[in-house]
């Protein structure tokens, strides 16, 4: 009997095994996520002006998102693999639908108004791109051939372009990076990667062309913050003051002045990191960043432990993309990167991105808890 299980499983207790293989939940990951979420709620209480209703709303969304996590964790990775192209295709159709039916507005059109609820197809694409890429690349032995590489790139570029057109540059970049991460993990040659890095600056003019005026403005203000006194640079200046004045130990919970005197814009959504930095100081934010690394580290561990290349690629991409989210948000709030409107995962106020992120962790849990126990 014991030879049927690998040694790790033997050391674990009965309850742990039931949770892991009965209801397909990875306890460590769940713990990590719950702590992030609690930190988020605590900060939100301060940033939102002690608004209980705001907290309840966020809590309800978290509940919904966890239900989706739980549901996805039950689905066997093989099944996901079978559905990958369908999900990807559906996502593409919905993206086109958004562009076609959302013709009237001059600004961003990201929502599809379905009969019962509003839905952002670009969020579905965040799942679909790594899923479909992992499926496609592992149809043949890795590393991928040149042809597969090109088709894989197309699978990334098409949805990214459609989303950039909405316009939602932040999401577009995230989806692009989630796909590129799959390509990287799949083992494409270093030569090609190097080629990409040289090639990238050449793509910039094309990107510039498809950008909307306000997105160009954001890039310009990033390069020259003084040029836009009302907009993005104001955000950056305020958030830098909030972060800097937090010092090593911070002003204490609910004591932030910048965040409470209407000075810091979007303090409960995209710029919530600045509130954390002001109230909890360098120690607080370092701990938070460390915790993000731990959660993603568990994901990478799951990827390494996974038994199929498909699972490895998918789990690896999900974990790394999660870190990209954090990096882009914190980079934007601290003035390292331009303001692109990416929320801080599981902490920022808002429902859609939370659902997507927890759905991705549901997939991770499914990968980890559906492993066959036989040593191959």
């Amino acid at each position: 009997m014991s030879s049927l299980f690998n040694d790790r499983q033997q050391t674990q207790g009965l309850i742990f095994r039931i949770v892991s293989h009965g209801i397909h939940i990875d306890v460590l990951l769940l713990l990590g996520l719950l702590i992030l979420l609690s930190v988020g709620l605590m900060v939100l209480f301060s940033a939102g002006g002690r608004d209980i209703e705001l907290l309840l709303k966020q809590l309800m969304r978290a509940g919904t998102a966890f239900m989706i996590l739980f549901f996805l964790a039950q689905i066997h990775p093989d099944r996901m693999r079978n559905l990958a192209y369908w999900v990807y295709g559906l996502g593409l159709i919905l993206l086109v639908a958004v562009l076609v039916f959302g013709h009237e507005g001059k600004g961003a059109q990201r929502w599809l108004h379905l009969v019962f609820f509003r839905f952002q197809p670009s969020e579905l694409m965040k799942l679909a791109v790594p899923l479909a890429m992992s499926t496609y690349l592992t149809e043949r032995p890795l590393p991928p051939t040149a042809l597969r590489l090109v088709i894989g790139l197309l699978m990334i570029v098409v949805p990214s372009f459609l989303i950039a057109k909405q316009p939602d540059l932040g999401t577009s970049l995230l989806i692009m990076s989630s796909g590129l991460i799959v390509l990287f993990i799949s083992g494409i040659r270093w030569r090609i990667i190097l080629g990409f890095i040289i090639f990238c600056p050449l793509v910039f003019p094309i990107l510039w062309y498809i950008m909307h005026a306000y997105q160009r403005q954001r890039v310009l203000t990033f390069l020259n913050p003084e040029s836009d006194p009302l907009g993005a640079s104001y955000h950056i200046i305020q958030s830098k003051i909030a972060i800097g004045s937090g010092g090593v130990f911070g002003r204490g919970w609910l004591e932030g002045t910048q965040s409470h005197l209407e000075f810091l814009p979007e303090r409960s959504t995209d710029f919530i990191f600045a509130v954390i930095a002001e109230e909890f100081g360098l120690i607080g934010v370092s701990l938070l960043l460390f915790w993000y690394l731990l959660v993603a580290g568990r994901g990478i561990f799951i990827a390494i432990q996974a038994q199929t290349s498909f699972s490895r690629l998918l789990a690896g991409s999900i974990s790394m993309t999660f870190l990209v989210y954090v990096f882009v948000n914190v980079g934007m709030v601290t003035g390292l990167l331009p303001v692109v409107g990416v929320p801080l995962p599981l902490v920022s106020y808002g429902g859609t991105s939370m659902v997507t992120i927890l759905a991705e962790f549901g997939i991770l849990m499914s990968i980890h808890t559906h492993r066959r126990m036989m040593v191959p």
Binding site: G49, R50, D51, E53, L54, E104, G105, K106, G107, A108, Q109, W111, P141, L142, I181, F184, I185, S186, G187, Y214, P229, L230, G231, Y234, K240, I241, I243, G244, S245, G246, G247, V248, T257, H260, L261, E262, F263, A277, L282, S286, L289, L293, A296, G297, I300, A303, I304, S309, R312, L313, G316, M320, L323, F327, V330, G331, T334, G335, L336, P376
Partner: protein, 626 residues
């Protein structure tokens, strides 16, 4: 097992091992890369929070310089004679910021006493405050009177966090009269938020919701300005300085004529329906009325939910713009267009006569398609059948034309297409065809449907603006001029008027000029002929009017039944329609009228047209002289 399959198994195994090693190497590399990125972030935080701590800390303790937006003044809207239709009036509102109020319950009850607010509105206000975030402004009371402003400002020092704010708000001096055309502005909601340029709307409270206000939002809004506001750590404003001034929106001048609009509205009276008047030479919309209407001023300051529900759920649908969106069967007003098709395709000529016994029967069927006149019109030609609106003539003509030719020809007059008018939310209408029915109903076309389409019944649905535009194309002998509400605009700060372009097309150039004349002469016969269905409105006019009455069935009458006006619920009464243009020879005025459940086009709709035409040509609308 053969050695060959063992070999391949080994190959697969080694491949698998190699593959997983490759992937795992990459995963570990990626993880290290991520750690490096995070280190960079930490370094950045160390720079901000340790090395530059003193600098930022002193900044956060100092007076805070904030950039406040200066919202631009919204452009004004005038009629063609410069009479103001939408203006901005200064108002004061009492507002508070919950976070800055020390004792909110006490403050609110005191304010409620001073403003004599009811208990209901006080609880509603408390609810609103609890829903909002604590640092957002909440409006306690809008449109303060001068007296209230005076008494409040004296006592304001007792209530920290409460202040009186002066704002310009939109006002429509003519109330209901332009409710659907000029439209109204309202509070910017979440949906608007998704489409506007956030930067330019900083500080703007209202946005065009319907009509001209919405269509020309971009021109009317203007460009935001900004100034520096210095606040201390307690959040109190210490100093304000001028930065960049805002640029007001453009003033718009419309083709609409206040006087004509008023006459049209009065002429329609308490009926539901729509009146549109166009200048066919420019496409200018001279009057545009949809009834019932509402007071747009109610929407500007935020209509109460109760009032809104009453308006929205009223069976009369006052919020619904009938002119652009109302679907009505064109009825007999379609006949001149069908007649022109008949002439153009050579199916009939001026002298072709048909015998009307009071009904028409398709060969091989026994269903009787009835004429509105029970005993029939006897022998009729084209002119008489238009003048007297003989149905049987047109059953015959439609049958000979066939639905395809009829549909394609009516297409050129814009039936089933949006006119492209510069107002939001126009509907397409419906001009049926074989293809349409197959796609939408998945049914084949029946010959009987061609007949009733020929008299503007059946599937046919037109909007009043479409009818007016079709009449205008007819009046101009085929020239299609895009209907527009906007006449010209004046850019803010400049004294120059910029005229709106007139856009014309002509898809009907091939039509024989003789045929235009026949149809238009027949329409003159409607108004001025001895037996014309609208002969009573042609009296004592110094020029010829070409018109066509229509009475559109809402309610199908079964074979052998009589239409009994008294026994029928009002909402099932026929719609009364009338289209006309004048002078018939050199048209400068087109009018289309739809009176919902008005009964007869000749008795109800046509007299409205007379009043409007008389007013436009400078004659007294009162009929004492007749």
């Amino acid at each position: 097992m053969s050695s060959k399959s063992q070999m391949s198994l080994r190959v697969i195994l080694t491949d698998h091992l190699r593959e997983s090693r490759l992937v795992n190497d990459r995963l570990i590399f990626a993880a290290f890369f991520a750690i490096i990125l995070f280190m960079i972030v930490i370094v950045r935080l160390v720079v901000l929070q340790i090395m530059e701590y003193e600098y930022f800390d002193s900044l956060s303790d100092k007076n805070h310089v904030d950039i406040g937006a200066l919202p631009p003044q919204r452009g004004l809207i005038f009629d063609r004679n410069g009479v103001i239709l939408a203006e901005n009036i200064p108002t004061f509102s009492l507002e508070l910021i919950p976070e800055k109020v020390i004792d909110i319950d006490n403050t609110l009850s005191n304010l409620a006493m001073m403003l004599s607010l009811s208990a209901d509105s006080l609880t509603a206000l408390k609810q609103r405050i609890n829903k909002q975030r604590r640092f957002n402004r909440v409006v306690v009371q809008q449109l303060l009177t001068e007296k209230e402003v005076a008494s409040l400002s004296v006592n304001l020092h007792r209530f920290p966090g409460v202040d009186i704010v002066g704002r310009l708000i939109r006002h429509y001096p003519h109330g209901n009269l332009f409710a659907h055309t000029v439209g109204y502005v309202g509070r910017i909601n979440e949906r608007d938020q998704e489409t506007i340029d956030e930067f330019n709307y900083k500080g703007t409270m209202q946005i065009g919701k319907t009509g001209v206000e919405r269509y020309y939002e971009k021109m009317l809004h203007g460009i935001v300005g900004h100034r520096k506001i210095e606040t201390n750590v307690q959040g109190r404003v210490v100093r304000e300085s001028q930065g960049v001034a805002s640029l007001a929106g453009d003033d718009l001048f419309l083709h609409l004529d206040l006087n004509l609009q008023r006459v049209a509205s009065n002429a329609l009276g308490d009926y539901k329906g729509s009146v549109v008047a166009l200048d066919p030479r420019t496409g200018g919309v001279l009057a545009m009325v949809s009834k019932p209407d509402f007071d747009p001023n109610d929407f500007v300051t935020g209509i109460s939910k109760k009032e809104y529900i009453i308006l929205r759920d009223s069976t009369d649908r006052p919020l619904f713009d009938r002119t652009l969106r109302g679907y009505y069967p064109p009825g007999s007003t379609l006949k001149p267009f069908v007649a022109l098709a008949g002439l153009e395709f050579g199916v009939v000529d001026e002298h072709t006569k048909t015998f009307d016994p009071g009904w028409f029967i398709l060969p091989g069927q026994d269903h009787r398609y009835r004429c509105w006149k029970d005993n029939g019109h006897g022998y009729v030609d084209l002119k008489t059948s238009i003048a007297q609106s003989c149905d049987v003539y047109f059953y015959n003509l439609a049958n000979a034309l066939g639905i395809d030719r009829m549909h394609n020809f009516l297409d050129l007059f814009g039936f089933g297409h949006r006119t492209g008018i510069d107002l939001p939310g126009e509907s397409k209408g419906l001009s049926p065809s074989r293809q349409w029915k197959r796609i939408n109903r998945n049914l084949s076309w029946y010959p009987g449907e061609t007949l009733i389409s020929g008299i503007g019944q059946g599937f046919n649905q037109t909007t009043p603006i479409q009818l007016a535009q079709a009449a205008a194309i007819l009046a101009m002998r085929g020239i299609n001029t895009l209907p527009q509400v906007l006449l010209s605009r004046r850019k803010s700060g400049e004294n120059k008027m910029q005229l709106q372009f007139i856009v014309t097309t002509n898809n009907l150039a091939i039509v024989d000029s003789k045929n235009w004349k026949i149809v238009i002469d027949s329409m003159v016969e409607v108004v001025h002929g001895e037996h014309g269905t609208a002969r009573h409105i042609g009296i004592k006019l110094p020029f010829n009017v070409a018109g066509k009455t229509g009475t559109a069935q809402v309610f199908g009458i079964k074979q052998g039944e009589e239409y009994d006006t008294d026994g029928l619920a009002k909402k099932l009464h026929d719609h009364a329609l009338f289209i006309a243009f004048a002078p018939a020879e050199r048209p400068e005025f087109v009018v289309a009228i739809v009176v919902e459940n008005g009964g007869s086009g000749s008795k109800i709709a046509a007299p409205i047209a007379r009043k409007i035409i008389k007013n436009y040509f400078g004659m007294s609308v009162n009929e004492q002289s007749v």
